[in-house]
Amino acid sequence: MNQSVSRALGGGRLSRTLLAFAAVAALAGVGVASSGVAQQRSPAEPATDGAPPAMRVLTQTQYRQSIADIFGADIKIAGRFDPGQRPLEGRLLAIGTSSAGISAAGFEQFETMGRGIAAQVVDAKHRATLLPCRPANEKEFDAPCATQIVSRYGPLLYRRALAPAEVSGLVERGRVAQGRLGDFYSSMATTLSVMLIQPDFLFRIERVEKDPAGGIRMDGYSKATRLSFLLVNSTPDAELLRAAGAGELHTREGLARQVDRLLASPQLEQGMRAFFWDMLGYEQFADVQKDPTIFPTYTVRLPVDAQEQTLRTIIDHLLVQKADYRDLFTTRKTFLTRPLGSVYAMPVATAKGWEAAEYSADSGRSGILTDVSFLALWSHPGRSSPTIRGKMLAEIFLCRTVPPPPGDVDFAVANDVSNPNFKTARQRLDAHVTAAPCKGCHLQMDPMGLPLEKFDSIGVFRTAENGAPIDASGNLGRRAFSDVAGLGQAMHDSPIVTACLADNLYRYGVGRNYTKGETAWRDYVRASFEASGYKVPQLLRTIATSDAFYAVTAPAADPLPSKNAAPTKISLKD
């Protein structure tokens, strides 16, 4: 990695770290773990200071996945979740969970969902499989059976062992409920309802304990939780909880065993889907409106399929093919449904469902930036926007923060599509950015967005706008290109793109931005990713088996306002 990149990303020791990696890898070769993930013998991991333990509210997908994993996928969850928060700094919803609370309306929903889930768990259809015992007499309270039920689900829901008093307290709640309701199963639904709205379930509360080696450390269950949500976006399973309880996660071997088990599990896919869904900003699709009279092919189904297309491509590429992350920006391989086929002008044989497909060499498409998901999400309702696309490309894939426009900008020229002198977006933007205050920021956005002008507001390929041919040239930093394939290749070759992914994955896992004390560690992770040939499973392993990922300092003593405290809805389309 060259020095300019290192500077651009705020790194200083990266080159040295990478050299160390390369040397060790060359001398020692690599081994293969049970997960199939290459285990490199790496130079010593830089020590970090860590950060205070986090308290993170469950996201909608984490809530749903946890319930499905604990009680089964057929348990219905009917309710609405508080909208997530993307902090200005760091951008990820996962970081927002460290500062988000639960509104009154949100809690009302959790209470309703909890009752609905609990009622299903004990209903006639599920009780035989989901409850570990049957009461001797439904009309009488069966304390031993209630204890078994609480002991089975308590640890899975709270993601830790329960103290005996907690178990007996919950059992006692059941006894009181039985007195009122006269039925054992209803009383157990009540007990489960309590657990399902406890902060122990709705928040991931990390705890610290004394480290026998001195100082403090994150306790085993909190480590298990951090690990599980990073890799599978769900509550730790029974085996992981067991390992946590046995203290195995405090040993290098014990931790590696669990990491490799999860990396090899089919649940890794749901974990990585959740990460990319967050990184790509797909919750914003809820607010995307396209005018049906202009875009009749943009049906209700299309944005759903568009997200799935890109996620499917990513998962297949990174986890199934175990391929190089960078190739996502150049690959022509993809997956399609019929509704998508109509936008891509590609025949789709499968009437319902998905099939593998490949953009043709002359389609003008290559890489996930030319997918409908990116092109349609980051456009205006009625027309494309090179500025929005360029801005989001910079924020999502380059980890840059583009400042908001100055308050007194006159956009009239940039947006006047009726001016005969300015037929294309490029011409309008050229006129707009001659103004000095605009130029600085637009140069960070437009040169990456303009190559995508060959695609309209929903991603249909075009060669002209208002009768004038579209010039798809652009540049990424100093690298210039003439078309969208050039943009994809430049993204592929950019070390900023790969460093950004490495940074995002770590920040996603810990729910915060890097601290000052983690600079060397950050460089180490980036270098490790590069040394692996940009394999994401290996990157996950580097993070998940590290000390840094679990490092904690004492909880903050004073209620300092967090930098991430902002419940911010970023206005992306100004």
């Binding site: 333990p53 308290m55 609405r80 508080d82 200005l88 500062s99 988000a100 609370g101 639960i102 509104s103 009154a104 949100g106 809690f107 009302e108 209470e111 009752r115 709640r173 009181v176 409920a177 007195g179 009122r180 309701l181 009540t190 309802s193 309590v194 709205i197 902060p199 509360i205 705890r207 607010d287 409106q289 005018d291 009279t293 202009i294 205006h380 309702p381 908001p404 100055p406 308050g407 007194d408 900008v409 956009f411 009239a412 947006n415 006047d416 599509v417 909880p555 903050a556 003593a557 004073d558 209620p559 306002p561 967090s562 405290a565 902002a566 419940p567 911010t568 809805k569 206005s571 100004d574």
Partner: protein, 438 residues
């Protein structure tokens, strides 16, 4: 025969379990003139907000005269039926003090939260809700006419999400848990009491949880427990027989209809929500409400048009014949019509010899003045109703560059919030707009 009081009846209904009852509240028997309850307590006073995006056209929005003898401007014509019950606030500025103008964000932060820099200051409606919003099922209700959950009602760490459709607003208020005050028969649901016990179990763990987290997370847990208490209160009210309310009939569920950003569809959905909200207020389900007609970078559009309201404000030239942007103005006209629909709906509910609007204080604003340039000076604001006599309506007050936070402070003072000054930096003010305080 032993006296059968409600407590005893409930106990019987619950199979002998010992339970604590919620505090009786809904004794809404009006006195003769509708200004107070039969018990002598004053009528509930409601507070609401309304938001529309992308400002206005000052030349046709700002009334020419100030004071009490002002006349409705062209864009304010929809308010003709309620002119005597409204006050226009023009010429009040959001001061950035050198902070960047986060376009379509800073304006609302200044007006609603009093702080254009941070994101964590609470919006003033929540501070009003904390002192004036109790005793009802919902501490506040939010709705959004564009089918989104977005709202401007914000507590630190959590935004109060909006109901996104008329049906979801109806279901939240008049679905499960609603007790029709005029039903005649009242049967308390024993399951409600069990739900109360669930919440009380959660609250019992408060001390343990607070000791397990750092100080900054304690505030978030406290907020969680505030949410728990609000639901508890909701449940307690469900165990009380509500007193009858004159002129109230519970609405029927609205049909399930599409939502979107087509401006006429937004008007239609908004009108349906306004009517449901008026009935929610009339039947004392809530006293605090927040309505979003359009988002701050208004996505309103006309079918077939490639541009949204927001995009039009930036690109549409001023028509020399009119001196303003006619397409952008048409969106503002429709936004004003939407606001008038809400005001008229509130005014249509009789409470004694007054109307629900008279017992309400409704604050309306946009995020900017001239959206074309994201201007924050002279951001349009309006006040409707008289807050049960605490506010004097019928004026046009020109701020002449004074700070917008004076409006937020005035709303808080009128609604009984104990506050001397509000705002940050140069927008910190201790001067409510006394002309409108009765």
């Amino acid at each position: 025969m032993p006296k059968l009081d409600r407590r005893r009846l409930l106990r019987g209904a619950l199979g002998g379990g010992t339970v604590a009852l919620g505090i009786p509240f809904l004794d809404i028997f009006l006195d003769g003139n509708g200004t107070a309850l039969a018990s002598g307590r004053p009528m509930p006073v409601r507070f609401g907000t309304f938001h529309w995006g992308c400002g206005f056209q000052p030349t046709i929005w700002i009334p020419a005269k100030t004071g009490a003898n002002w006349e409705l401007s062209e864009q304010l014509q929809p308010f003709a039926p309620v002119k005597k019950k409204m006050t226009v606030l023009s010429g009040f500025d959001v001061k950035l003090d050198g902070a960047p103008n986060r376009t379509h964000v800073s304006g609302n932060l200044g007006i609603r939260n009093g702080d254009v820099v941070g994101d964590s200051a609470p919006s003033f409606d929540t501070m009003i809700a904390d002192v004036a919003g109790d005793g009802t099922r919902f501490r506040s209700l939010e709705c959004n006419a564009m089918g989104s959950n977005d709202s401007l009602s914000q507590r630190p760490g959590a935004r109060n999400p909006s109901e996104a459709t008329p049906l979801s607003l109806y279901t939240r208020v008049f679905g499960e848990g609603f007790q029709d005050p005029n039903a005649g028969v009242f049967t308390p649901d024993p399951k409600v009491m069990v739900r109360q016990s669930v919440l009380s179990a959660v609250k019992d763990d408060r001390a343990r949880l607070l000791s397990a987290v750092g100080a900054s997370d304690r505030a978030r847990l406290d907020q969680y427990f505030t949410s728990v208490r609000q639901l508890e209160q909701q449940l307690a009210l469900q165990l009380e027989k509500p007193a009858p309310i004159e002129n109230f009939t519970a609405p029927k569920a609205p049909p399930k209809k599409p939502t979107g950003t087509d401006v006429d569809l937004v008007l239609e959905n908004h009108k349906a929500m306004a009517q449901i909200m008026a009935l929610a207020l009339a039947s004392n389900q809530t006293k605090i409400f927040n309505v979003m007609f359009s988002n701050s970078s208004s996505s309103l559009r006309i079918p077939g048009d490639k541009l949204t309201h927001h995009e039009h404000t930036h690109e549409e030239p001023n028509d020399p014949a009119f001196g303003y942007q006619p397409i952008s103005a048409s969106f503002v006209n429709k936004s004003m019509r939407g606001l008038a629909d809400l005001v008229v709906a509130l005014d249509g509910v009789k409470e004694g010899d007054r109307t629900l609007l008279d017992n309400t204080l409704l604050f309306a604003n946009s995020d900017s003045s001239q959206a074309k340039l994201h201007q924050l000076d002279g951001v349009p604001m309006m006040v409707f109703g008289s807050a049960g006599g605490k506010v004097k309506p019928g004026l046009h007050i020109a701020g002449n560059g004074d700070v917008v936070t004076r409006a937020g402070l005035t709303m808080q003072v009128a609604m009984g919030v104990s506050v001397e000054k509000w705002g940050t930096r140069s927008m910190l003010t201790n001067r409510p707009i006394t002309e409108i305080l009765a």
